[in-house]
Amino acid sequence: MTVATHDSTRLEAIPRPRSVFQRNLNLVRELSITNFKLKYTGSALGYVWSLVKPLMLFGVMYLVFSILLKAGKNTFDFPVQLLVAIVAWTFFTEATTTAMNAIAGNGDLIRKAYFPRWILIAASTTSALLTFAINTALVVLVTFATGNLDLSWLSLLAPLYYLELILLVLGLSMLLSSLFVFFRDLGHIWEILSLVLFYVSAVVFPFKTVYDYSKKLADIAGLNPIAQIITDLRHVLVSSTKLPSMASLIGPLAFIPILISVAVFLVGFAVFTRLTPRFAESL
């Protein structure tokens, strides 16, 4: 028998799911949906803002670097290269800056409730990924419509590079969020570092420019995982024939940035696990 009206004087408790993994996954989902919702709540344009930012960045960068400075004049389809890079870069900065506050900004949850603390990092990264997914879908749609999308079998490698980017982002997020609890000036430090990274990561110019200028410099600059990820994404997504991969430019050294990404993840994880017991007392 079903009762149409609820008895307002009694509330039966429900058992939790047995699987702890299922509970944690559910909490990640709820927290990331909340983060995503809150970010755009109360603004008339809502999610559109998440598109405006990278589009604006793209517009300005295109104007300055492609048209005024002719940074991509010797390369193939520079605007699409720029789009791919800016979407990836926006995800990187957004994910790391929001994650930095994921622990310190949730003091109430940490002091009053128990759940594995990595959930907060997973949630903040997931909400940045949501924005990233929307942006990527839009870029694919636009480039497909204009006929600039040059997909090949090699394009199937793109998810692997995105995975490398996510690994790097997660590692940095764990590192930054746990250290930020103890060092509050890390926010400013990271802001400056991000600015430097933006210009050394070949976002606004093809990495080939560095290579043509000095092979030695390319060997050093190519070790930066973001430069490698962006260069390789351009190689597999924009044109596998006309744009070089990192490996074709710096040779076997191209493995190092991948190793660095994995190492950053491991170090981030180690630092995070070590500092976790001190969060509740320090916030």
């Binding site: 509330l11 058992p15 939790r16 709820e30 909340t34 060092f183 017991p277």
Partner: protein, 421 residues
């Protein structure tokens, strides 16, 4: 049967940094000096077990380590030594509405708060309307939490908090919330847990509710268990402890207010020179009897002529609960300052104290007639103790009378049934 909670030789200390360095810059520029800490021992060697179905209360003065103990049990803090184990599923109500977000609607907050408790969206979907009904908020499901009154927020939070089925409930004084009718609902839920034989650990200041609900009470003081046993025995030990403490402070501190006391504030245009309590013979005392007289004597020193002013007093229980208070303005007594340098003497005489045994404090204040400017304020300005005598329980002597009548006819049970039918 295995105990639900096993705590053995638990120790917890907090390291409080003496130089607060929260920047990397500071650590880089002061890398040579190792950080200095002050250790605060919150729990020293705590051991106890809680068998299934027991309702355990934890009591103790502020800073005794109750909350720390609860947080170690809930795995929020990590023990420094020893162990605290919970066998089975537990729910912690350290605060109501943990995880709630003011920008979300009531419905969204149920999903969020439920997720923090470990419940999934699929489980909660069928339950949302029931929760809203229990919280008496059916008409506000799509309203943002920030637009709710604090009472509404508490009702929603409590309704979500009791959603998860668990073997153990851990609670930190969250029950004294909401309006009277909702409080009744909370206590119903609470009694139901007890009937269902759930294991509950409750931390509370309120000795009355500990006596009412708990099978056993643990009394903590300075991080140590000083009493552990049946509720009534331990709460009376706690009463004794408060009384002894009051006596100790009586010996230590003179009645005269010491200047620079942090409990005192105000502009001091006029100020209390002394505050004292006197008994029937006009002698200063800290011990009084229920039903006996007590007079609060205040000497007010005038530094600057402020014109008309108000003198107020209040009596609090040792734990801070306001019991009574009044001032000269409410009681239509006119007070005004004379020339600077003069002393004004003000007394508040109580003929018959309605308080029962326990420790109490007196708060005094001097303000302007609008109540917006404080000249002097001291809390506590004095403390006193009511001697234990008589068998009445609680806080107040009600001076009530029992009346019994024997000569009434009782309708037979048949007659009752007939009228009922």
């Amino acid at each position: 049967m295995n105990p639900v909670v096993e705590v053995s030789h638990l120790r917890k200390r907090f390291r409080l940094p003496l130089d607060k360095s929260t920047t990397l810059k500071y650590r880089v520029t002061h890398w040579r000096s190792s950080s200095r800490y002050r250790d605060l021992i919150a729990l020293r060697d705590i051991s106890f077990d809680v068998p299934p179905g027991q309702f355990l209360g934890i009591a103790g003065p502020n800073g005794c380590g109750k909350s720390t103990l609860l947080k170690v049990l809930c795995r929020i803090y990590k023990a420094d030594a020893g162990s605290a184990r919970v066998n089975g599923e537990f729910s912690a109500f350290l605060e109501l509405g943990v995880g709630f977000n003011p920008e979300l609607t009531a419905r969204e907050n149920i999903f969020l708060g439920g997720a923090v408790l470990g419940l999934t969206r699929a489980q909660l979907r069928d339950k949302v309307d029931e929760v809203l009904a229990f919280a008496e908020l059916e008409d506000f499901a799509e309203q943002k939490l920030k637009n709710f009154s604090s009472g509404m927020q508490v009702r929603l939070a409590f309704s979500v908090a009791i959603l998860a089925q668990t073997d153990l409930l851990v609670m930190d004084e969250v029950l004294a919330v909401g309006d009277a009718s909702f409080q009744e609902k909370c206590f119903d839920a609470f009694s139901r847990y007890k009937r269902e034989g759930k294991t509950i650990v409750l931390v509370s200041h309120d000795l009355g509710s500990l006596e009412e609900y708990c099978d056993r009470v643990i009394l903590l003081n300075r991080g140590e268990i000083i009493a552990d046993g049946p509720a009534v025995e331990v709460t009376s030990a706690y009463h004794r402890m408060i009384a002894e403490h009051a006596l100790a402070t009586e010996r230590d501190s003179p009645t005269e207010l010491s200047r620079g006391d942090p409990s005192q504030w105000g502009s001091r245009a006029i100020e209390f020179a002394s505050v004292s309590l006197t008994d029937a013979n006009g002698q200063r005392s800290h011990r009084f009897d229920t039903g006996g007289p007590m007079t609060l004597e205040m000497q007010i020193l005038v530094h600057r002529n402020v014109g008309e002013f108000v003198c107020g007093m209040a009596i609090r229980r040792a734990d801070g609960l306001l019991l009574a208070g009044t001032n000269t303005f409410m009681d239509h007594v006119k007070l005004s300052s004379d020339a600077p340098g003069r002393m004004i003497s003000v007394c508040y005489a109580i003929d018959s104290l309605p308080l029962l045994a326990g420790g109490y404090t007196v708060q005094v204040a001097l303000e302007d007639v609008t109540g917006s400017h404080s000249y002097d304020h001291a809390d506590p300005a004095a403390n006193f103790h009511i001697n234990a005598m008589g068998a009445h329980v609680g806080m107040l002597e009600m001076h009530g009378r029992w009346q019994v009548a024997h000569d009434q006819d009782v309708p037979s049970s048949d007659a009752v049934r007939q009228t009922a039918g």
